[in-house]
């Protein structure tokens, strides 16, 4: 691998993680705040508030994970799986 290719590889790696942290992280926290209340056995409005308060912690954790995961591929695979799980939780819960 030439030096130039390595630089581009590094940049793509960082870009993939930044995207994962910002966008996949937001999608997961958003879906987390929306999906969990559908399944929690407490009053809906209260459940929404609890999960919304917690969603910011979720977002933080995803961001840290995005920059500590071994490979960007594995990172995106896992995040997509989580998004699909949450999406189906919304789908079946509604």
């Amino acid at each position: 691998m030439t030096g130039r290719a390595e630089i581009w590889h590094d940049r793509a790696n960082v870009a993939a993680r930044v995207m994962a942290a910002i966008f996949a992280g937001y999608a997961i926290s958003y879906l987390f705040a929306g999906a969990l209340p559908l399944w929690l056995p407490i009053v809906r409005t209260e459940a929404v508030l609890w999960t919304s308060l917690a969603s910011f912690v979720v977002y933080t954790c995803i961001a840290l994970y995005a920059f500590s995961a071994r490979s960007a591929w594995a990172l995106w695979r896992n995040l997509v799986v989580i998004i699909l799980l949450l999406l189906s939780a919304v789908w079946w819960g509604r």
Partner: protein, 530 residues
């Protein structure tokens, strides 16, 4: 991402901090001042600094009876320790907007100068004065702050030992790192609390997943559920009636309450008809989060009709407490000052972080200069960040001082005055940034070596702090000359105005001391060590 978890976190912490550092500093700085935004509002409207009546509610009722006898709603804002002013507000018809008027102790109308006030600083804090877009930017930056804080904690596993490690006389990056660590560790719980609470205050704007997915976006219904229980609305009758004495009602509410209690506003629905209702919110001073209750009185007979204790599901109460903690809404003066000091240290944490990065970068890059010395372009490329640190961080202090000057110097009757104040604030800030860059470009030769660069930057910081200190110091005589602010405050024992000036003097002295540190000639020994 890198070979170990801690290395990855260091990388994340550094970049997260650099990309967001300057705007985050501005947000924290304005948030720190916003702790005292009502006091700043009060200082910026010197026309209101007159004596208020001890029986404010009677004066307010008399004025409203004259000005708006047929209104559907009255509100009388009582003077508080933080803002000893009286204001009446009324709503003429059910669809009309609230109108308001400041009054003095005798009920005479006061016309304060048009100003953006401390409220501008508060609005800048949550939305950079850019509306919804600005709120999203602030939300994103708060999220980055959260990530930077948590990753910062992970980097510094030996956090308590490092707190007692401060080596101010070691070479620059070490000393700045220590300063950054000391600031961060000292207020870590505070900065975590303030960042998290700042994020969740407006969860429904930034993270509306729950609203949109679990409720199909029926926002109004959700908020109705979440709001604390309120009183029923009563349709007004059309027969005129004589109102009860509001001061008696207020006394009744105060006498039956436990000690330490605040009532900020007396609200009257349907004034002047038989089914007038007087609603009061009593907030206890004992609890930081303002536990209280609400009382409803009959507006004509003055009898207590209903009492609503503060209650709500745990989730709502939790959110309420988080919000009130962030806004230090009901804190007494000491707690308010404690918040101010901790917020200032958080500002220092951000500032030392960006300066630290500049310092490290400088050492790495200055070696790349050719033997001939630094050209303008080299200097800008390597030291642009340092100059912007000076312009953004130091410049914000100067610009805030200039904003206060504008409040006193612009003609009181000028149209568009409030907006001009804000324009002047931003121009002053911009000018500080430009001045820092101009300094860098015109003295580019001094930046050729690390020693030269360090003494030139030291001088630039010194100059910037000297300007900021002079601007702050000049506000005190300026207030006296334009509105006789100090002599009036001294005569009336106006604690708010006097504390405002005392704080300015302390800030000016602190900045002058830092300026002197930067501008004094260095002894050889000191140069050798730094």
């Amino acid at each position: 991402m890198l070979s170990t978890f801690r290395q990855s976190m260091t990388w994340l912490h550094t970049w997260c901090g650099i990309v967001t550092g300057w705007v985050l500093f501005a947000i924290f700085f304005s948030g720190t001042l916003a702790v005292f935004r009502h006091e700043i509002d009060y200082w910026m409207m010197p026309e209101l600094q007159v004596s208020v009546s001890a029986d404010a509610v009677t004066a307010g009722q008399r004025v409203l009876q004259q000005v708006a006898p047929a209104a559907v709603r009255w509100m009388i804002d009582l003077p508080t320790e933080r803002a000893p002013v009286m204001r009446v507000r009324w709503q003429a018809g059910p669809k009309d907007r609230l109108q308001s008027r400041y009054i003095d102790g005798g009920g005479q109308q006061l016309s304060p100068r048009e100003t953006s006030g401390g409220s501008m600083i508060y609005r800048f804090h949550y939305g950079l004065l850019l509306g919804r877009t600005g709120m999203w930017i602030v939300g994103g930056l708060a999220m980055a702050m959260m990530v930077a804080l948590v990753s910062g904690v992970i980097i510094h596993a030996k956090i308590f030992r490092e707190f007692f490690t401060f080596r101010p006389f070691r070479p620059a990056p070490r000393a700045w790192l220590d300063a950054h660590t000391v600031c961060s560790v000292a207020v870590l719980p505070f900065s975590l609390m303030i960042t998290y609470s700042g994020l969740v205050i407006w969860w429904f704007i930034w993270m509306p997943g729950g609203l949109e997915l679990a409720f199909s976006g029926e926002r109004a219904a959700v908020f109705r559920d979440m709001a604390p229980p309120g009183f029923e609305r009563v349709a007004p009758s059309t027969v005129p009636a004589v109102m009860a004495d509001l001061s008696q009602i207020l006394r009744l509410a105060t006498d039956t309450a436990p000690s330490g209690l605040t009532i900020e506003t007396v609200a009257v629905a349907n004034p002047g008809v038989p089914n007038a209702r007087v609603d009061l919110t009593r907030i206890s001073d004992d609890a930081l989060w303002g536990v209280g209750d609400r009382l409803r009185f009959d507006g004509t007979s003055g009898e207590l009709l209903e009492r609503l204790p503060e209650r709500g599901a745990p989730a709502f109460v939790t959110h309420r407490i988080i919000r009130i903690l962030h806004e230090v809404k009901f804190a007494g003066p000491w707690l308010r000052w404690l918040f101010f000091v901790m917020a200032s240290i958080s500002c220092a944490m951000i500032a030392t972080g960006t300066v630290l990065w500049g310092t490290k970068r400088r050492i790495k890059h200055v070696k790349s200069f050719a033997a001939g010395g630094a050209t303008r372009r080299d200097a800008l490329a390597v030291f642009g960040v340092d100059a912007m640190n000076v312009g953004v961080i130091g410049g914000l202090f100067t610009a805030t001082g200039v904003y206060f000057h504008a409040n006193r110097l612009l003609p009181a009757t000028m149209s568009g005055r409030a907006d001009s104040e804000v324009t002047i604030f931003f121009l002053a800030w911009l000018l500080c940034g430009c001045a820092a860059i101009a300094y860098l470009l015109s003295f580019h030769r001094r930046f050729a070596s690390l020693h030269g660069a360090q003494s030139a930057l030291r001088r630039l910081w010194g100059l910037q702090w000297a300007v900021a200190a002079s601007v702050a110091l000049a506000i005190v005589p300026l207030d006296e000359m334009t509105t006789s602010g100090i002599s009036r405050a001294a005569k009336r024992g106006d604690a708010v105005v006097l504390s405002f000036h005392a704080s300015l003097l302390i800030a000016a002295l602190a900045m002058a001391w830092v300026a002197w540190m930067g501008l004094r000639p260095l002894t050889m020994q000191r140069v050798g060590r730094s």
